[in-house]
Subunit: 284 residues, 2 copies
């Protein structure tokens, strides 16, 4: 299934640890409606956010390898944890441009902050990798204006559909109180699941705090990069095709899919784990 030519008519590839990255697919599709996009969700091995660096790097290599094999012209790493642990490795080993979700979020936050502190929330893996902190510091933010917080319960709460629920309100308060006390004016939602909690988080943080949704920032960065490389597909009349690959069909698949994508997923191709393994030899 290897397509040799990567020109502007090739699809964009997006991968995520699971279904959360569909928010990124959605933002890409809205911004670049003429582009074909192939999505891969590693639902057999989700989540990545609680796992070790080496494991996440191996998974990410296989995920990107699958997309490259399918002939994509660019790989978008929708998963924050994979971006944190594997981006450099993928750039060194893959034959197509690789775009991560962290730098676009960092740039948006730096452009938006009004002199206050910037908060970052994410999985344990993302926060402990230190990548957001490094990016914000490299952009000139002093250490005392960078506040981070792991929010490990947010992913399961979203997957259970508990937006607006009393349990979610309690978790939001528990995790975000220190950030509110520190008067952050900008908060990076550093995980693809978190935009689903925008209302809960926004209500608690108050109207003066800007929430940075990495999906929008990433879609804009992808557009710029493709234009720069003359790989942009820019045809007003074309409606791009979306293709979905998953390593497992999870319970509540349709429900969770619609929650992130905003519409039902019609067809899915399942990728066996033996097939995934085949990509590691090429890239690792």
């Amino acid at each position: 299934m290897n397509r040799d030519v990567n020109d502007s008519t090739s699809p964009i590839g997006v991968f995520d640890s699971g279904m959360g990255g569909l928010t990124v697919l959605r933002a890409l599709h809205e911004r670049l409606p003429a582009e074909d996009i192939i999505y891969f969700g590693d639902t057999a091995r989700v989540p990545y956010g609680t796992k070790g660096e080496k494991t996440v790097r191996t998974f990410a290599s296989q995920d990107a390898g699958l997309l490259v094999d399918l002939g994509v012209k660019m790989v978008v790493v929708a998963c924050n944890t994979a971006s944190a642990f594997a981006l450099e490795h993928l750039r060194e080993t893959m034959s197509v441009p690789i775009l991560g979700v962290i730098n676009p979020g960092v740039r948006t936050a730096l452009a938006g902050t009004r002199g206050g502190a910037v908060g970052v929330i994410g999985t344990s893996g993302t926060i402990r990798s230190g990548r957001y902190q490094e990016g914000l510091a490299a952009g000139g933010l002093e250490a005392d204006r960078i506040l981070v917080q792991e929010c490990p319960l947010f992913v399961p709460l979203v997957e259970e559909g508990l937006m607006g629920h009393a349990m979610t309100k309690m978790a939001v308060e528990e995790y975000l109180q220190p950030l509110r006390d520190a008067q952050v004016d900008t908060l990076i939602l550093g995980c693809t699941h978190y935009p689903a909690l925008k209302d809960d988080i926004g209500r608690f943080m108050g109207p003066d705090v800007t929430l940075v949704d990495s999906a929008d920032a990433l879609a804009s960065a992808a557009q710029d990069r493709l234009a720069e490389l003359s790989l942009l597909r820019d045809d007003d009349r074309r409606e791009g095709k979306l293709e979905f690959y998953l390593s497992d069909i999870p319970w509540k698949f349709q429900e969770i899919g619609a929650r992130f994508l905003g519409k039902p997923i019609e067809e899915v191709i399942t990728v066996g784990l033996d097939e995934m393994e085949a990509f590691v030899d090429n890239n690792d």
Copy 2:
């Protein structure tokens, strides 16, 4: 590393999707202190409870294959979801006796119920597999005396160490209210993580409800089965060796390990996923 002889001096193998099965290891070690036990936790691909039947069966075949390759005399499937989806398959394909966690729990519940209803709580996969329901029905329980409930947030709450926390109390109330209303007199804790919530669950259900911890039931069943097969290692003076294999070293590894095992894990051998994959060809 293949040991050919499976006699009473061979170790017992225990596998689980992650660290939760350490509660089973602990119960086995307490009941059979002279036995050597090898534990494998598939921490790179945890959890199993939200994933599809075929995926769980593939993972379970690899997990059991690893243990058989290490020379165990029996494989104990500590994970409820793996027991639900893969037990028959493992029995057909493996060369050693396979013990699951569901039947021992069912038998204990049937022996303990005092004419009321029996409740079962577990992951989505375990509950939807219908295995507990089948087992209880086969034991003579009428359908209207069997109540089941998926509790997907219990695993992340335990992994975050939130026993006794207000969020946990709220989740317990939300999930268990229907079982309390139906006046169950016996409740099967159908997931290796749930015994950590015994206090929260017991307080809500009241002192008249018997909580069935599958770990104890399983340890007792393992003892019976080994005796039956003349494979029991029964030496009062011997202190059995415990060995730990994991496919990923997760964040908070020591903390979570101690929570389930009751003491720190001193040494761990990491098993690469490429190594895990090697076992699927033999068994699938």
